[in-house]
Symmetry: C2
Subunit: 134 residues, 2 copies
């Protein structure tokens, strides 16, 4: 099948809070109205969607049991320089993210930090000197 | 900041097994060698990376505690028709995915199923008649 990731859906406990968090990064919801049960952001080729955690579990067909432990999945927003990483990291924090790891040099030769969104979904903010994925 | 998702990283317990799983979908790793500690797939504008679960936790700076409960995050691969969803769902199963939800009509007017990859990461395979994200 075609190598394609169409959509990443984050289950959230408070849809309004999460929408405002991502809007505070300067990202604009697509076709959003106050009645929307799902919020879409077009992230340059892939969609990010926010959906109630219980609704998402119901769609998958599993119980919405509380998650504990390390989630084992991270999203990354890359920037073209170290300074840009610091700026974007601070924008995440200003939007209400929780700092998980202050941006720093990495073992793989890049520079990155981690934040958590209001539901704990992990975002890496990274500069990769070898691959421009910005 | 720019609305951009650069990379989705899946923490995996067996890097070879996970690489072979995604290769079995017909996806080709980028710049992979047997010594690679991370495996990248270019998914049409966003990178998917596979990384050891413990290594990922270390990079984030958290304990690699076992995750339980509903993960609250799903990835979606969209297809342009119902028949294509059925075919792609079967390709996932043939590759070794676990069936979570057989493809079926959805409440939102589309058609989708869910599978889990070898580490339980959830993929939706979907046809969306309203938005072509294929």
């Amino acid at each position: 099948m075609k190598p394609k990731l169409s959509l990443v859906t984050l289950g959230v406990s408070d849809l309004d809070r999460s929408r405002r968090f991502y809007e505070a990064l300067g990202w604009e919801p697509q076709d959003w109205t106050p009645e929307s049960k799902v919020v879409f952001f077009e992230l340059n080729g892939v969609m990010l969607s926010l959906f109630g955690r219980d609704d998402l579990a119901e769609d998958v067909g599993v119980e919405a049991t509380r998650s504990t432990g390390f989630s084992s999945i991270t999203l990354a927003h890359n920037e073209p320089s170290i300074d840009d990483v610091d700026r974007a990291f601070n924008e995440f924090i200003s939007a209400g993210a929780t700092a998980v790891k202050t941006p720093q040099a990495t073992a793989w030769g890049g520079y990155s930090g981690y934040v958590a969104d209001p539901d704990g979904h992990l975002w890496e903010v990274a500069f990769n000197p070898f691959s421009d994925w910005t």
